[in-house]
């Protein structure tokens, strides 16, 4: 380093840190503080402190919302998990140009806002939409399926929405694998399916699990799709947050909800990381 004056790196980093503190840390702290005040018709009572907002979260209504959110998220993540490997394997074996094209196809939906996608799914899944018209035209069903304003529709629409978060790390891992490993397994007598289960899968498990964790969190906190395709009858956590913060304007409760969501998210991430570590170390210690 030619100018190792202490403090120079901090000069470069400081502006962003400042913005992040003001725009990220402070708001979160604000929410935490708000959640500890009681709410009154006149607004937040900043003079008093209470844990009552958190206690209210234990209400069965909120529990029902949480269970529904969990259920949807687990199903979507599970489906994603099953589909990720076939897709990643396929794409990683294509010639390089084709690979970029395919990845582009999977990534671009992420860069187009979810509302437009929700519109697309609405047009596809509604009573006289594309799917129903197709199925009735092919005589597969007699009367239209109710796919909209239902959990099913939400699940169907969420799968592609967050698929990329598992596909991308998995593809990177598979592409980065030394082909000699597959060859070694093959020459030693392992059929292609055995090569997958005994070599490829174990070696790509950590990024796969990490991707699933992110995918799960994104599903838990999705808003536009559940709102537009599920409706008020199928309320999930994010919709509840909307209700509490923007309709009831009960910010202390909304704050408590936010804190609870963050706590849950961090717990899932932590558990996922520990799980991945255990998976990897558990295999090496076999006799």
């Amino acid at each position: 380093m030619l100018d190792r004056r202490a403090g120079v790196p901090w000069l470069f980093v400081a502006p962003l840190v400042l913005v992040m503190v003001v725009g990220f840390v402070w708001p979160l702290l604000q929410v935490l503080v708000n959640s500890l005040h009681p709410n009154t018709p006149q607004g937040i009572d900043a003079a008093h402190w209470t844990l009552g907002n958190y206690a209210r979260l234990a209400d069965p209504f909120y529990g029902e919302v949480l269970v529904r959110t969990l259920r949807i998220s687990v199903i979507v993540t599970a489906i994603t998990g099953v589909l990720a490997y076939p897709v990643a394997l396929f794409v990683s074996r294509l010639p390089p140009r084709a690979q970029s094209l395919f990845l582009l196809a999977y990534i671009s939906p992420w860069l187009i806002n979810t509302v437009v996608k929700a519109l697309g799914w609405t047009l596809l899944l509604r009573t006289n939409g594309v799917v129903n018209t197709l199925l009735r035209g092919l005589d597969v069903i007699a009367s239209p399926l109710k796919l909209l304003i239902s959990e099913t529709g939400v699940i169907i629409a969420l799968v592609p929405g967050h698929f990329m978060f598992v596909l991308l790390p998995l593809w990177v891992a598979l592409s980065g694998l030394d082909p000699a490993l597959s060859w070694a397994a093959g020459t030693l007598g392992a059929r292609p399916s055995a090569v997958f289960w005994r070599v490829l899968l174990p070696m790509t498990l950590p990024p796969f699990v990490a991707g699933l964790v992110i995918n799960f969190i994104m599903n838990m906190t999705a808003f536009a799709i559940p709102m537009l395709l599920g409706g008020a009858r199928n309320m999930v956590a994010s919709m509840l947050a909307y209700q509490v913060n923007l309709v009831s304007l009960d910010w202390p409760l909304g704050g408590a909800l936010a804190v609870a969501l963050v706590a849950f998210t961090l717990t899932v991430v932590w558990a996922g990381q520990r799980g991945a570590v255990l998976l990897v170390s558990g295999r090496g210690a076999r006799a």
Binding site: D178, A180, L181, W183, A184, A185, G186, T187, L188, G189, A190, R191, P192, A194, R198, V199, P202, M203, V280, R283, G284, A285, R286, A287
Partner: protein, 355 residues
């Protein structure tokens, strides 16, 4: 188990990586594919292993045609350049991998793995992960993993190129020793001439996807089939020939348009269209006094380079420049500018065609 390749070819797009290769390896023989990078030797090895399908030709193992057999049915084993040990399995599980694929019983696996590890002297490290092993140790695990399945054919893809020099010498002898004891047919790929010469019974020199010459080390060194082979296996002096004539049962020609040289007696096929004379540096005699070789000339020393056990003498005969190598003791008194006699015996020369 003998191996036979009949007219094997492999094209990738428009590239002819392997172009009409035929060879036979006898049972128990140690055979090497030798050549510079890009010559097709590794591709050929992979064709034998079944990693890539052949574009044309046949691969026969002990008379059985395995050309279209998938690689997990061929019952051979391969040791890769970077060992390809499974990083998520410990040494024991790595070595046991092939046995588990063959559904060998648990007890038998334990016995055979221990045997294999003992063979490569690594019993103590059975619980370690590959990342915790040195390069040499990883290499031995790779060898043990290959041998434990009792393959019909053992393949090596430049197994020693990632090791440091001292370890390389050690492993050369160990592998060769192991191979002789077990008697397994082996094919090794390398670009290192010393490796090929040390370890093989016979070798094939490859270039541009084709075989240039097959034979024992001594044959390839002393009687290279063409200029490429001659140049590849060691330093060589080359003199262009013209005016070839036969005088009293022996042949002579004009070399480099200046010297009159006696040529070696041509064997069948060699030397008919001879355009160049090749001379190994060690076959040249350089001396301040008289020399007794058939071809002798008066020359001048340009430079003497001390290389330890040997010394290189760069000499000039008129405008012809030659490089000679001799024991340093013999080069002791020589220095630049000194007038010397330079010569060689006609039979030490090698005739090659123009291309």
């Amino acid at each position: 188990m003998s191996l036979e390749l009949v007219d094997v070819a492999k094209t990738f797009g428009t590239v002819h990586a392997v172009d009409g290769v035929s060879l036979s390896v006898a049972s128990g023989e140690f055979f090497t594919l030798l050549g510079p990078s890009g010559c097709g030797k590794t591709t050929l090895l992979r064709l034998i292993a079944g990693i890539h399908p052949v574009t044309a030709g046949r691969v026969m193992l002990n008379g059985r045609d395995i050309t279209h057999s998938p690689m997990h049915t061929r019952n051979l084993a391969m040791v890769f350049q970077n060992y390809a040990l499974f990083p998520h399995l410990n040494v024991f599980d790595n070595v046991a991998f092939g046995l588990r694929s063959r559904r060998v019983a648990r007890d038998e696996i334990r016995t055979r793995v221990r045997e294999a590890l003992a063979l490569v002297k690594l019993e103590a490290l059975a619980e370690r992960l590959p990342a915790q092993l040195s390069g040499g140790q990883q290499q031995r695990v790779a060898v043990a993993r290959a041998l434990v399945v009792r393959p019909d054919l053992l393949l090596f893809d430049e197994p020693l190129s990632n090791l440091d020099a001292r370890l390389r010498d050690e492993m050369r002898f160990e592998i060769r020793d192991l191979q002789r004891r077990i008697g397994i047919t082996t094919v090794l790929v390398t670009h290192d001439i010393e490796e090929a010469f040390t370890m093989s019974d016979r070798m094939a020199v490859m270039q541009g996807g084709k075989i240039m010459q097959i034979g024992r080390a001594s044959e390839i060194y002393r009687s290279p089939a063409n200029r490429f082979v001659a140049n590849f296996v060691g330093p060589i002096n080359e003199l262009a020939l013209s005016d070839i004539e036969t005088v009293g049962g022996r042949r002579r020609a004009r070399a480099a348009a200046q010297l009159v040289v006696w040529l070696p007696n041509a064997e069948e096929g060699f030397g008919r269209n001879a355009q160049s004379l090749l001379l190994r540096p060690e076959s040249l005699r350089v001396s301040a006094g008289k020399i007794e070789t058939e071809n002798r000339y008066a020359g001048e020393i340009e430079d003497v380079i001390y290389l330890g056990a040997t010394s290189e003498c760069r000499v000039k005969i008129g405008e012809v420049r030659l490089s000679a190598v001799m024991p340093s003791a013999a080069a002791a008194g020589l220095g630049p500018g000194e007038r010397v006699s330079v010569g060689w015996n006609a039979q030490d020369g090698v005739l090659v065609d123009a291309g």
